[in-house]
Symmetry: C2
Subunit: 189 residues, 2 copies
Amino acid sequence: MGRWQPDSRGRLQEAALALFAERGFDQTTAAEIAAQAGLTERTFFRHFADKREVLFGGSEVLKDRIVAGVAGAPKSNPPLDAVARGLDAAAGMLGEFRRDLASQRHTVIAANPELRERELAKVGDYAAAVATVLRRRGVGEPQATIAAEAGMTVLRVALERWAGGHDDRGLAVVMNDAMTQLRMVATDS
Amino acid sequence: MGRWQPDSRGRLQEAALALFAERGFDQTTAAEIAAQAGLTERTFFRHFADKREVLFGGSEVLKDRIVAGVAGAPKSNPPLDAVARGLDAAAGMLGEFRRDLASQRHTVIAANPELRERELAKVGDYAAAVATVLRRRGVGEPQATIAAEAGMTVLRVALERWAGGHDDRGLAVVMNDAMTQLRMVATDS
DNA sequence: CCCATGGATGTCAGTTCCAGACATCACCCT
DNA sequence: AGGGTGATGTCTGGAACTGACATCCATGGG
């Protein structure tokens, strides 16, 4: 056994989620999280750029999955269909995750403006990446950005409904549904 | 003349924009902004909840304008058309503003992740307000949220193109254009 | 004309977030 | 055995905020 317990990063994430859920984000200091994980505050900030970031560990992986989904769509697909492939990939990945943890995380984030801000920024980052892929597929501007942003809106709305417990169907279904609603809303006029 | 110079809030906003543009957001302290405006740090934080907020002074007014625009749309308008009315109102208000200041502000925000986060949060707030108005008009969920969020996506994209100098037409035109692109992207499949 | 009140500001002290610089310790490789 | 490496701890300090309290001036009532 090493000098240190394994997976410090994971332990910090677990401790943070537990403490945030228990006392709230503002009432929890980075030092407390670190202590709970058997580490020091300084080490916390070596693993996460700021206190909020500890809740967004899998974000990069998810982005890559989405991007891969979009990139893997048939060349003939119109932009929003390609984006829908990315959403399928996202639903697949998030579906593997434990539902209760996703829900707890969602509750914590929903309760704090700073965390909601960060979440929006993350999804905005996905959108930028997706737009880049779309452009590489020959989609022009502003269509690429609009399709990407609209798609990430669908992701956020579906995730909110699913993790918020307002829709008990599978995430993939909820997301598909939201995409359909977007198409209807945009068409019907 | 009073004990204090008038319009402290406005002076703080001006000073902040100037300093941010000159040295960057991170390299400017709240105390420096306050000093430039002839005030103290404590007073800065009495006017603005945090350092970023000083760049988003007119945000509430803009939200009200958008909401009013949506609420004022003919009852018969489908949701996204009503939202388009809100966007017209926004374009009208932002058009009154000095273009160079809007551009400078946009440059500062674009250069800093924390500021981009805050901007996303603001627009997300508009979306929530618009969704509420739509529901009051009888639009169900998730259509209301989707229409509102899609509309605010159009706002962001158009604003980015306009303030970023990528499109020299009037803001209203750019926004109308973006809305049309959204409809096309969502339809064509 | 004086004084009480209230709003905007200043002063001071304290907490927390976050980062730079450097030390330490176990492990690994040769 | 010894040096290199990576993760962690320690120390220190700046900057973002916040609460408590003092101050000053405009205003209005007496």
